[in-house]
Every structure is written in structure tokens, then in C-alpha cells.
Amino acid sequence: MAIRVNPGYIEVLDKFGAEDVQMCYQCGDCSTVCAHADDIFKFPRKSMRQLQMGLEEKLETSLEPWLCYYCGQCSEQCPREADPGETMMSLRRWLISRYDITGIANQFFNSRTREILTVLLIAVLTGIYLTFYGISGGSIHVYDGEGAFLPSSFIHTFDLTVGGIMFLFLWLGALRMWYFSMVKGMSIPVPWWLYFKKLYEIPFQFITQKRYAECENNGNSKLYMPWLVHFGLASGYSIMIILIMVFVEPLQAGPEIVWPLHIFGYLATIGLLIGCIYFVRQRIVKTKHVQYKKTHSTDWMFVILLIIITVSGIVQHILHRTGYLEAANITYVIHLMAVVPWLLRMPFSKWSHLIYRPMAMYFAEIQREAVVRQQKLVDPLSITIK
């Protein structure tokens, strides 16, 4: 089938943040400095080209954007200041909106006001619902157990419902990613057992985000700061989710502190807190790492919500343990008012990459092996490939 060229498509991507793509003159410098590009997944130059030509289908079925961690080497090197790193970031945003069948992600990425309004609406609805529930069945003076304002069993069900919705959308998205990349975009057969062979990639990539560390660090500092922050956030995040979804009932009991359980909560809080501070600082200073030079408006939303959640969580915890139960209950409602939109927003925002990225790497590894198996790479020049 002939490929349809659509030079106008770039306008669409412009809204996702890829502003300088037309500057690119296809030199390939970016691909040569990228620590993640290799002979099978060649980017960012190729993605730049596909964008310039508006090859929507090629882009939709590509996994390359997920292999990029935005270390910014390419943008630093680019002789045309075409900002390939930012383009890859924009492609991720765009892909998220593509994976999402509801169209919500697209709305969010393209209109900040709509996103803010939606988040506010959900927050208010949550607040009203929880307050009514609390008043109707319990007392503001009781935090846990009999007659509690927000009984832990109720919260457990509530959390599971909200979390369930979130996961449903995320996995629907992941399914679409699978369909695009492994079915629609694959021209060669993929043996079914490869899916099992490479299964370990998912948890492995999710927890370590190992490839992030492979990004070269521009020399100066030995600490892979962005990676550390990423790691802190990702693990804080996962631990919190597990705690909330499974252990919320013993957690909410008190006022004694159940150390074997709470210690995890504290650690996760620290991880999230450090993440918050670092993100805010980087977004204000904006110079050190290229990836923070341009902040798409949707990123702020994430940070603000995360800060509210973390701070209100800590405050509520302290209030509860020190016996200010009324205040604790009110803070709890505020906390949940942030948690719910934040969780529900996940599948439609940049942060769905926490799931999409490991999935994409999993698929990419399968693709790689499938391609190698097909012996597609006959190498007449006998050259060493990275």
C-alpha cells in the first residue's frame, strides 16, 4: 500500500508540544547520540521524518517514543535546534491520546481550561458525596470504628472502585497499544511464546526504569538525578497504591502506629515528597536538564495535585494520631478530593506512562526478537552494531 503523505498533520502535533519539527533537516545527529537508539529502533530522526511527512499510521504503531527517556542529548546536539527530545515527549502525549478510546486525553492535552474544570468538578463531586455519606451514617467526631465519619470498610470499597476504573482505562489503553504496535504495525509474524519469554520485562522495567539510568548524564554530576527522582516516585507510587488498595483498613485504625505496615507508608511518602520538591524546583529553575525547559501545561496539574495529596495525607495522619479527630476527618475529605481526580486522570495524562512505558518495552523486546528471528538483518558491510 502506498503511504499517504500529510504535511498538515504536524499542526496536530504542534498542540501536543512538538513545535520545531519543521526545522529538522534530517542529519541524523540525534540518532547517533541517543543512548537508546539501536539498529532496530532508530530514533529520534526517523520519528521526526515521519512527523514531517504526517505518517499518522506509522507513528501510531511505533513504540519508539516510549523508548526515549528525554535525557535531552539529542536536543543539545541538534544543529537545527529542532528539539527532537521535546518531539519525542510530544509524541508520547499524542500516543496517550491515541490509546485512549474516550477522547478525554485529547481534550485534556489540547485545552488546559477543560482539564482544570474537569478536575475541579470531580473534586467537588467527591467532596459532596463524601460529606453527605459521612453526615448520614456517622459523626464528624469519630475517625475510625463504630460511627466513624468515613468508615475504613467504606473507604476500602470506594478506593477499589475508583482504582478499578482507573486500571480499566489504563489496561484498555495498553490493549490498544498492543493492537497498534503488535498487530496493525507488524509486518512479520510474532511467535506466541515470545510473549511469555519476555514477560519479565514488565515488572522489571516498571520498578527499575533501568534504561533511564543509561541516559548519559552530560558529564557533570555522578548522580543520575532525574533517574533517582523517577525511581523514588515510581516506587513511592506503587507502594502507596498497594497500601491503599489492600491495607487501607488496618492503616486507618489507630491511633497506635502499626510499624510493620506504616513504615512502608512513610517511605513512600518520603519518595513522593522528594519527587514533588524536585519537580517544582526543576520547573522553576528550568535550566539544568533540557527536559524541563519546556513544560507542557498538563504537567503542572500533576505536580499540584500530587503536592495536595502528599501534604494533606501527612497532615491528616498527624491530626489523627494526635487526637484532633474532627480536623482529621475534614482533611481526609480534602485528601480524597485530590486523590480521586488524580487517580481518574491518570489514564488520560502523561503519567499513564508509568504503565505504558514498561508495556511498550515489553512489546519492543518481543518485536526485536521477532525481527532478529526473521533474519531481516543481513549485513553486507559487516559492521558492528551496538
Binding site: 547517533t32 547520540v33 539498529d39 530522526r45 558492528t384
Partner: protein
Amino acid sequence: MRTGVFFCQVDEQWNIDIDAIAKYTLNLPEVESVQNLGINPDIDLDKLSDSIKSRNLERIVVAGDLPGYFKPVFTKAMAKSGGNTKEVRLASFQEHGAKNGHTLDRAKAIVACATMGVPFSLAAVPGGNPVNHATLVIGAGIAGIQASLEIANAGKQVYLVEQSGTIGGHMAMFDKTFPTLDCAACILTPKMVDVGQHEMINLMTLSKVVSVSGKPGAYRVKIKKRARRVDEEACVACDECVSVCPIKVESEFDAGISFRRAIYIPFPQAVPNAYLIDEENCRYVTSEGEKCGNCVKKCPKDCINLDEEDQTIDLEVGNIILATGYELLDISHIDQYGYGRYPNVLTSLEFERLTNASGSTGGRIVTKTKKVNRKTKEESWIFSPEGIPPRSVAIIHCVGSRNKKYNSYCSRVCCMYSLKFAHLIKEKIPNVEVYEFYIDMRAFGKGYEEFADRIKSEGTFVIRGHSADVSMRDDQMFVRGEDILNDRLLEFEVDMVVLAVGLIPSPGTEALGRMLGINSDSDGWLSELDYNGNPTDTDKGGIYVAGMCQAPKDIPDTVAQASAVAAGVLGSLTSEKGIGNMSSLSLSEIEEKAKSVHTL
């Protein structure tokens, strides 16, 4: 003719008072309407053609810094409204030099000429001053040599000023020239000898212009001539002195890949063919006569005078030709290619000297050999004739050129000389692999595309795709590159990397221009009067540009421009009109002239 004038600008930085020009334009005869469309306007074709129609315009003048950008839409609109598309005229401020100081009046004059349909260059002809018949040429590369010879051969006096110890410029450093692969020396050396012997050429090496005053046709020039400290006439270039000189420094002529003494001759065919003392390094000079002086005792001709003093020379000339050439961009801070870190990463000029039969390896292309200083145990890498030839060489184009961080422009000659390098390597080393990494192949001249094809057919891997990564692992260099046409990412083992480094104007070009009242463009190249119509004259009457100093160009173009400049100079000497400054032409003078041309 009912004329409509539209102002549209491209460059926001361009500091020009459009409103004032527009006001002036409104009062011009035949002008019906004037519109200022602003910076980078989005012009609606339909609206435009409607407005042309409703105003019944017969001629349109598009005025601005680069009005050519907008010409297509105006032409379309004119056609749509049924007008004559030939009557879409451009009034280009950039092209006709409406900048720096005399911006406003010049811009007005440019617009006025366009509304009358008179080419600006026909209306703006400065003149009036009688012309002194002597000519000063600054810079003795191929451009300066060519211009000097043309003028001198016509029987006119030339003063040729060259800052280094020999004439010849960069071309003297080359082995072969593209695309013919002629021997550079065979073309250049006879011309150099000619210059040295010509009775109408007064050659001053080691000299610089320090001040210029006067007016077109009669410039007073002060030249500082550094002491050579060796008698040009008496020195027989026997090379005796060199053996006793204790000083060793990198040779400029060899692009730093070999060493010379403090008393030296740049290369054996240098003109003047005499040795000279490098006063910055000579032990006698730096110790103010306390130490050394070995060479004086050794010289059989007694021609070394270490105490010779600098001279200043005053000249009166009618015309001045600038031919100061170029130099390579300093790439020490472009670190992705490992230049300065890995011994076998070379700049293009270094490679030119390596492959030149008169170079330190006798023209053998070899990798550097490690040398350990016996006393200090310091390691250094040098080229020696016994070196090992590389098994594979990568040539990387566009290093610092077409790059927004360094030179945004194309240096024009690098693609071609890189291909030339590939040929020379293939010719000299059997079974060598040569990889050319290019972004776009600029084979722009007669026979150049064919040359490129020939190089490809010789087995060089010409790879569409740049490289920004040269690394070293276990004493082996690697180049990573993207082969875009074959859709693969590659990593090659290479023994040598040659960087096609971008070109910039010679140091001091801008200062020299300022001294003479000539502008430089944003990249530092000297500004010509009119890029299309008059690429040899400048804003100042009697001052011309030739060769690289005006813009990157290859030898054929340099020679052609130099000859054109000579024609201009000779023309000014024979015409009765005399010469004058473009910038001193007043608005009313240009208007008058345009009117008289217009009514013809």
C-alpha cells in the same frame, strides 16, 4: 501608471522606520496606494487581488528587507485581478544596502526607483572624484594574486600587501584541487613567481594596513611592515641557518602538524623565496639580543640582520581591493568529534597538509605515531613518514557549518574537498575503507556532480546521514552514524577521522572593514554592494572585495571574482567619470537620475 506600494518585512531585527518611508512614498507621482503589511504578514490572496482590482492598480511595488519572499503571492494576485504580472516590482532594502546609517534615505530612493520601474543600479551611479592610478591589494591568496596580475598586466601600479611571510594563501597548502584533480601548485606557483617578478607589482609581505584616510580615488594608506630580519634579495634559501636554531614551534603553513624553527621559510616555493625570523619565538629577539644569534654566524651570505627594525610605509592609491580570505572555525569546543582528545582526528587543513607531497610525511597518508620525550617522559603524537596507514577513514561533513550554534551558513567548499579527500585516500592506500558522512551533498559547480559520482564509483561509502559521535574504546576509534537511506544505525571502527570544518572570515577582517568603512554581514563576511547585480563593489567607492573574504567560494569562483574586480578597477582608471561613494549619493540625486532614465 497607477502604482500600489506594499511594505512587508521578514526580519524583525531590521531597524527601519517604515512609516516614514511610507509617508514619503505616498507623495511620489503615480503612487495610488501605500500599505504597510507588517512583519511576516499572512497575505490573503483573494483580499489582495480584490484590493488591486478595486484600486485599479497597474503596477505593484513590494518593498521590504527581502521582498522576494512575498513576490509569488503578489504575482498570483496580480494575475488573478487580470493585471500584468511583469509589473510586480521589488524594492529590496537588503539587496541595495539600505542599512547602517544611511538607511532611511537609501530605502526611500530604492522605493522611488521601483515605483518608476527603473533598476536601482541604473539610477544610483556615484562618480566625480579623479582616480589615482595606483591600486592597493590587501591579502595575497589566489584572489589577491589574480587581481594584482590582471591590473599589473594592464600596465598599472599595484601594491600587494600580505601579512604572512609568503604569498599564496590557502591554495598553496593544497595538493590537488577539485573537481579536476589538477595539481594546485602547478597552477599557483607560476602565478606566484609572476607576482614576485612583476615590475608593476610592489609586494610587501609581513605587512598590514594600519590606517586609511582620504576619499574614493585618492586614499592615503599607512602600512606597517614588520622586519623580516633576513635580506630578501641576498638570501639564497640554502637552509644552513635552520640547523643551528634551538627553537621549535608548530608550522602554520603545515596547519600545525609539523614543526619549524624560529628562522624558516614557510615552504620551499615561497615568494619571496627567502627565510624570515619569527620574532615572537626567536631567542635573540625575545631576550632582546642577550642570547643565541647562532643563525647569524652560520649564514654563508651574511644576510641575517637580527636587529632590523619595522618600517611604516605611506602610500597614495586610487582603488583598494580586499582579498583577506578565510580561516577554519575553531573547533576545540565542539567536543563530540574528539578533536584534540584523540590523536587521529584531523581538521580538513591538517589533512590537506598530510596528503601533500611537500608535507612532513612526503604525502604518505599515515596515522600518528607515539613519541616519548626521553627527558620529560611526556608522550606526544606526531606524523612521521614511517607511520602506519589507516585501514579505514571517516570523513564527516558540516562540522560547525549549517549549525545554529556555530555557523548557520553553508561553507560551500567542504562537500567537494571531502570527496577529493576520499579520492586521495583511495588512491594512496590500497584496500582502505573510506566513509563519507554527509547531510546534503552540495555539488554545485560545473563537473562537480560528475566528480561526486566518480568518487562513489571508486568504492567510497558515501553515507547520507551525519555523525555526532566519535569515541575511543581500547585504543580503537569508533564512529557512530545513521545511514538514513539504508535505514540503519551503524558503528564503524576507524583509524582516522577527518572533519570538514566550517569556514569563517580571517581574523581582523571586520576591523579592517571598519577601518575602510565597509560593513560586514552578520556572519562577518564583508558586504558587497549588491549581491546579485554587483558582487564585487562595496558601499564605498573604489573599494572592492574579492575571494573568500566576501563569502565562502571555491577557487574558480574566487579567480573569476578577482578578475572581475580587476576589470572594475581598470575601468575606473580609464573612464572620465571618476569614482565616488555610493553612500554619499543623496536621495534627490538618485531621484533625478531615476527620472531621467524613466523618461527615456
